[in-house]
Symmetry: C2
Subunit: 156 residues, 2 copies
DNA sequence: ATGTATGCAAACCATTTGCAATGAC
DNA sequence: GTCATTGCAAATGGTTTGCATACAT
């Protein structure tokens, strides 16, 4: 992550802690730094391992507490995956569009400006939008081909 | 849920079970019926309670197995909420837009024709679109209010 | 008769909680 | 010194698993 982003988020955290009379613990800054070093999303487990590798051990309880704080400051966003929650540094609003084959599970990124624009222009009442995640389900061409072959085979 | 839909999904299930030499157990049809009676999303716990109220007890293990089967047949879709998985009956190409609070996890349905149109008009190469699922993440008004209150309190 | 499906209870595992110890102020 | 914060370990709770039993075919 670019240095000026890390400087900026450290400042956001510092300001918040000072203005709200909360403590500037080394743990909070170490976790923030580690989070903004991830190239993309991560699990709490993975965050733990990175800190471990930096010889900065932080308990699970503190990791959960700290991430919760960062989410309130919107320095981190999260989404639930199968089995665990995944997090992502929020350096601006990150959004994703993917096409997912419901048969083989293959995932591909989709780029669609009209979709992004449509989501941005959709007004939500009593809700501050921050990002979105779109999954388009269907059948990829390889699976379509395979199914067609199987059908033909059975009809013989 | 309209009767013709329930008839149709029962037929989908019956066909699948017969063609794949799997058993047409009363549990599977009772669970399918209960699922298509929910007006919207539900947890496994809630599904269990509905079946209980109908004096049709089904074990948790079977509920999970059955829902997994239905998800493969795409009669059910699911998404992970905070603390639990939530499910929803799906027949035909049902698409969903939801707003999800990243702090409390509350989920609300969103209706947006422009978004639906934008997704429909997006062409995907070598992929047959069937449905989509959109999660818009952000902070709901109650959480915004709670955070503001906490800040004010501490600043006193 | 066969083997799939169910029910039960234990196991699993991410997350939360309670509390004593630490350390930021 | 005070009390927010941390670390530890136990508790929680949704989901999965293993296996004996039941039952659809």
């Amino acid at each position: 992550m670019k240095d000026h982003v890390k400087t900026a988020v450290r400042e956001v955290l510092t300001n918040y802690l000072e203005q709200n009379k909360r403590r500037k613990t080394p743990e909070r800054f170490a976790v923030l730094d580690a989070i903004f070093d991830f190239p993309s999303h991560f699990s709490l487990q993975e965050l733990d391992e990175v800190l471990e590798s930096r010889h900065f051990r932080v308990s699970k309880a503190t990791l959960y507490n700290t991430i919760k704080l960062f989410m309130e400051l919107r320095l981190v966003i999260s989404y639930r995956a199968v089995g665990e929650t995944r997090y992502e540094a929020a350096y601006g609003n990150v959004s994703h569009c993917q096409q997912i084959c419901t048969i083989c599970g293959r995932v591909n990124a989709v780029k669609s400006l009209p979709i992004i624009r449509a989501v941005e222009e959709t007004h939500l009442r009593r809700f501050r939008k921050e990002s979105f995640s779109l999954q388009i389900y269907g059948v990829c061409s390889s699976c379509q081909a395979r199914i067609t072959r199987q059908k033909n085979k059975k009809q013989l």
